[in-house]
Subunit: 311 residues, 2 copies
C-alpha cells in the first residue's frame, strides 16, 4: 500500500506555484466583502481568486437545522480540504450556494490565482483551515454598527424587512458568541471600525479604525508614517490584548480633514514600500461614492502582507 | 512559505485508514455496473463506496461541446484529485450528474468506505488517476455484443429509440477509438464476455469470459481450480498480450452444464482462500433472474484482489 502512496505523489505535481491565502473572518455584515473588494480591485482581479465560505453551506435554506453560524451548517472539513488544495496550487470544484434561491447548485471549477482571499463566517474555525492561511484578519465592529450595516444590506439587497433582520440577529446571538467571536483570538490582525467614543462627531463623519497588529506574523514597520505630526490622523500605541499579551494598536481617525487623510494615506503607502506608485483609487471605497481613509489604510496593511507573503 | 506546508501537514490527519480502490473501465454499456454491483452486494454495501465517473461531467447535456467520451467533457483533473483524497482516506464533495435531466446538480458528501469501486468511461485516462488504484480492470466485449447491450439498456431505461442509440454509436466511434480503448493497455485485468467463436451454441447460452491476468499485479494462484478435469468449464493458457508480452489467459465457458458450472465456482472460491464460506448468491447475477458463471468467476477474481490489497 505504501508504494501506491509514492506512485500517487510522483504522479501529482508537488512543485506547483503556491498562492498566498488571506482570510477575512467576521460575523454577518461585519464589512468582509467591502474590505476584500478594495484589495481585489487594487491588486487587479486577474491576480486574485475570491472565495466566500457561504458556498460551503451544507443545507438548502428550506432544510437548515441550525442558523448559518453553526459549524455543522457548513461543509467545514471540505472547506479545509479545499483551502489545502488551493494553498498547494491545485484547482478545486467549489460548491455554489445561490443566495437568491437558498439552494446549492452546480459546482464551479476554481483555479487558484496568485492571491486567494477567503471571506466568511467561519474560515478560522478549524485548525487545519487556519494552517492554510498566510494572513488572517477578524473584523470586529461594535454590535450596534454591525446591526445597522446588516439592516441596510439585508433590506436593500436581500429582500428582508427590518423586523426580519432584527429577529434573525436575536436568533443568532448565542451561536455568534459560541462560534463566530472566538475566531477573533486566532487572527493576526483584528480590525474595528467604530466612532471614537470620547468625541461627539457630526453625523456622516467616517468611522475610525483600530487595528490590533499581533506578533503572530511579521508586521510592517509603519514608523515613517507615524511621525508625531501625523497623530491627529494616525498613531500607534502599545496595548494589551484581550488575554493580556502585548500588542501594537494602530488608530486611524475618521474625523481628520481630507487633506490630513490624503497625506496619511500617502505616508503609509510609502512606509509600506510602494514608493513609486500612487495610492490605488480602489482602496477605501465604500459602495458607489463613499470613501474612507481608515478603510484604505486597513486595506493597505493587508495588501502589504499579501505581497510580502508571496515573496 | 515552507513552514505553512508543514503546519498544513501537521494539522491534517496523515494516519487515516487507506481504502482499496478498484477501477472498472470500459465503453458505454460494456457491463461495468453489472460487474461492480455483484461485488458490492457480495462484500456488503456498508463496506463499499461506488463511484461513477459520469458524475464528473463538465457540461450540462444541452451545452456539451463533445461526446461524453472526450476527456475534455469531464472534470478529469478533479476526478484524479478526488481519487487521491479517497485513496488517503479523506471525504470528498462529489459532483452529481442527473442522468434523467442531463444536468449537474448539488454535490454530495462521500466518505470513503473500506473498498471504493470506481466505474466509468475514463477512470484510467490520466497517470495520476491510475496511480490511485490498487486494481484496474478493462471490460472489452466484442462491439456487436456491446451494441446489443447498449440498445437494450438505452431503449428500456433511458428513453431512447433504437435509431438514436445506433446514431450515437456511429457518432462516438472515433472518440471511442481515440480515448476509451487505449485504457485497455493500462488495466491489470482485461475481461471479455463473448460467445466462443468456434462453436455454434443455442440461443440463450450464457456468454463465456476470457480474463487476461497481467503481471502488473500479483495475480491469484488458481491452480487448484484448473485441474484438467475442469477444462470443459475453466482453463488457463499461456498467451501473448496485444503488445507481445507474455500473459495468462483464463477462460470460463458459458456453455458448461449447470452442475459443472457450480463445481467450478466452488473450486475457484476455494482456490482463492474463501474456504469456509459458500459462494455469495450475489455473484454472477444479471438483472432480476439471469445468472452467469463466467461473470461470477470474474467477480470472484476481482473480490480476491480487493481483499488481498486491503491486507
Amino acid at each position: 500500500m505504501a508504494d501506491k502512496m509514492i506512485r500517487i505523489r510522483r504522479a501529482s505535481h508537488e512543485d506547483r506555484r503556491r498562492p498566498v491565502l488571506l482570510a477575512i473572518a467576521g460575523d454577518s455584515a461585519a464589512g468582509k466583502s467591502t474590505v476584500a473588494q478594495g484589495i481585489v480591485d487594487a491588486l487587479g482581479p486577474q491576480r486574485c481568486t475570491m472565495l466566500s465560505t457561504d458556498d460551503y453551506h451544507r443545507y438548502d435554506r428550506a432544510h437548515k437545522p441550525f442558523t448559518a453560524l453553526h459549524p455543522d451548517c457548513h461543509y467545514l472539513p471540505i472547506l479545509a480540504q479545499h483551502l489545502q488544495l488551493l494553498a498547494t496550487g491545485q484547482p478545486i470544484l467549489k460548491p455554489v450556494y445561490d443566495h437568491s434561491t437558498g439552494r446549492l447548485i452546480r459546482p464551479q471549477l476554481v483555479e487558484p490565482a496568485e492571491v486567494i482571499i477567503v471571506e466568511g463566517l467561519l474560515p478560522l474555525h478549524s485548525k487545519l483551515a487556519r494552517a492554510c492561511f498566510d494572513v488572517t484578519v477578524y473584523l470586529d465592529p461594535p454590535e450596534q454598527i454591525r446591526r445597522s450595516w446588516k439592516i441596510t444590506r439585508d433590506t436593500t439587497s436581500r429582500g428582508y424587512t427590518e423586523e426580519q433582520v432584527l429577529a434573525e440577529l436575536v436568533e443568532r446571538e448565542a451561536e455568534s458568541a459560541q462560534f463566530i467571536r472566538p475566531q477573533r483570538s486566532h487572527a493576526d490582525i483584528v480590525v474595528r471600525f467604530a466612532p471614537i467614543e470620547a468625541r461627539d462627531d457630526a453625523p456622516g463623519t467616517p468611522l475610525s479604525a483600530s487595528l490590533l497588529l499581533r506578533t503572530t506574523i511579521q508586521q510592517p514597520d509603519l514608523s515613517e508614517a507615524l511621525a508625531p505630526g501625523m497623530a491627529r490622523t494616525i498613531h500607534m500605541r502599545l496595548a494589551r490584548d484581550g488575554d493580556g499579551r502585548p500588542v501594537d494598536s494602530v488608530h486611524v481617525h475618521g474625523y481628520a480633514s481630507p487633506e490630513e487623510s490624503a497625506t496619511a494615506e500617502k505616508m503609509v503607502w510609502h512606509a509600506l514600500g510602494r514608493d513609486g506608485s500612487a495610492v490605488p483609487e480602489a482602496l477605501g471605497r465604500i459602495g458607489a461614492d463613499e470613501r474612507s481613509t481608515p478603510l484604505a489604510i486597513t486595506q493597505m496593511v493587508l495588501m502589504h502582507h499579501v505581497l510580502a507573503a508571496g515573496r
